[in-house]
Subunit: 234 residues, 2 copies
DNA sequence: AATATTAATAGTCATATTGACTTTTAATAT
DNA sequence: ATATTAAAAGTCAATATGACTATTAATATT
């Protein structure tokens, strides 16, 4: 029988950077680590890759086990492979980032799980290299969101244009001109205007919109130009 | 002493998709596999990750060992983590793609190593999931090249605009209008026109250009718009 | 009931970019 | 001298963009 004799073997983990958006602020979902070392410290949602599952499957499983979340946007970020990143023994981590609609899951998250939302800019010190993972994921999110319509994954089914603009402004940490933003979003044809208005934040109220799912699916890999001055740095 | 008791351990490999460009065609560097199983079959350049090196370092080492290449453009593509992708035992592979100037290395490659260049569209059946890796790498190259000036990595120090256009056409598998292409490239300010001309492919000759390295470094992460109709699919 | 207030939404306009196309130019071959 | 070739420059209408202004719809105030 053939074998790769004497090659070293390593642990392989997955870690998920879970983004949410609430009250106009970008948030991050964290859990308290349940094993030594660094037990009870804040950590990304993660776990070891089992013998019968792919890394993608492991990420889905870990996400579901720790939060109950299913069917969310999930994308491989990158591998963190430095030999000493875990002090116990060598462990590679495949990082994934997820975008979820907080409202959809907030009740179940608080009731059944230990997970907690943090404002992205006020999140605590994390274990190992998890802070670096979050920083990389934010950068990737910004990059991707400037070119592809993925931020809708963070919003509820019904949302307003001012809400969407706030999300873009939060992700990109910049002010955006309302008129130009609306024109650009409308020109994508991705949104369908509803009759209902949200009057919680103004007297006039802002119309609710929902995604044109058909169009959205076919456009998810198209390159758009959602952020002003995208010739600039990202 | 703390340990992650009884978690499964796996082999971890790196595989490099090495792209080159010669005679107007995109090429792929392959080697004959040196160990069982599938010994002597064509394979990407790869190897196992050693205990003291990061995956990035492993990719650099493997690339140097198999080809002598150093200082080339190298970027992590993604992890291939399906449990059965290697028939011998579970092995995760971290795939990297490299862009190199063929001319710079052709002599040493032929003399000292087993590596061989193939036209990308005429490359042989590869072991395991390596064909899928190549397909993913091509897609990533096309995506990235539409937005960032990375294809220069495939050209020699001196090159002509027709040569560059041919490269873009090859990568994107489409015809590009010469006037518009030149205008776009010139507007980036990345190129410096030389006095010398290349007369090998026309009577008039085409001016050589070289990269403005200073500008190139600061522009490598900027989003440009190098491909016509980039609102289209990629 | 008229008016002020607020933020959403629509409209304007000069400028820049784009794609399709045409013209000129530089060198060699006949 | 003239024809040939492909590189390089130029033209132009259509579109996209960013900065800005005007209008509108609902509520609050007098």
């Amino acid at each position: 029988m053939i074998e790769y004799s004497s090659q070293p073997h390593y642990l392989v983990a997955v870690d998920c950077i879970v983004f949410g958006f609430e009250e106009g602020r970008l948030k991050l979902l964290l859990v308290k680590r349940g094993l030594e070392p660094e037990i009870n410290k804040w950590s990304l949602i993660g776990g070891f890759v089992g013998p019968e599952e792919s890394t993608d499957d492991a990420a889905l499983r870990v996400l579901k086990k720790n939060t109950g979340l299913e069917g969310v946007y999930l994308e491989q970020l990158k591998v963190y492979g430095k030999p000493d990143r875990d002090p116990v023994e060598r462990t590679l981590s495949v990082a994934y980032f997820a975008l979820i609609d907080i409202q959809k899951y907030s009740k179940q998250l608080n009731a059944d799980y230990q997970a907690e939302w943090f404002l992205i800019n006020e999140s605590p010190q994390l274990i190992f290299d998890h802070n670096a993972m979050v920083a990389d994921a934010r950068q990737r999110l910004r990059y991707k969101a400037a070119l592809h319509p993925i931020l809708f994954e963070l919003l509820p089914k019904k949302f307003t244009l001012p809400q969407l603009q706030l999300l873009f402004e939060e992700v990109n940490d910049m002010k955006i001109d309302t008129g130009n933003f609306n024109r650009k979003i409308n020109s994508t044809g991705l949104l369908i205007k509803l009759d209902e208005k949200d009057k919680s934040s103004s007297k006039k109220g802002a119309f609710y919109f929902r995604l044109n799912h058909k169009k959205y699916q076919s456009a998810s890999h198209l390159i758009l130009n959602l952020i002003p001055g995208s010739k600039l740095d990202l």
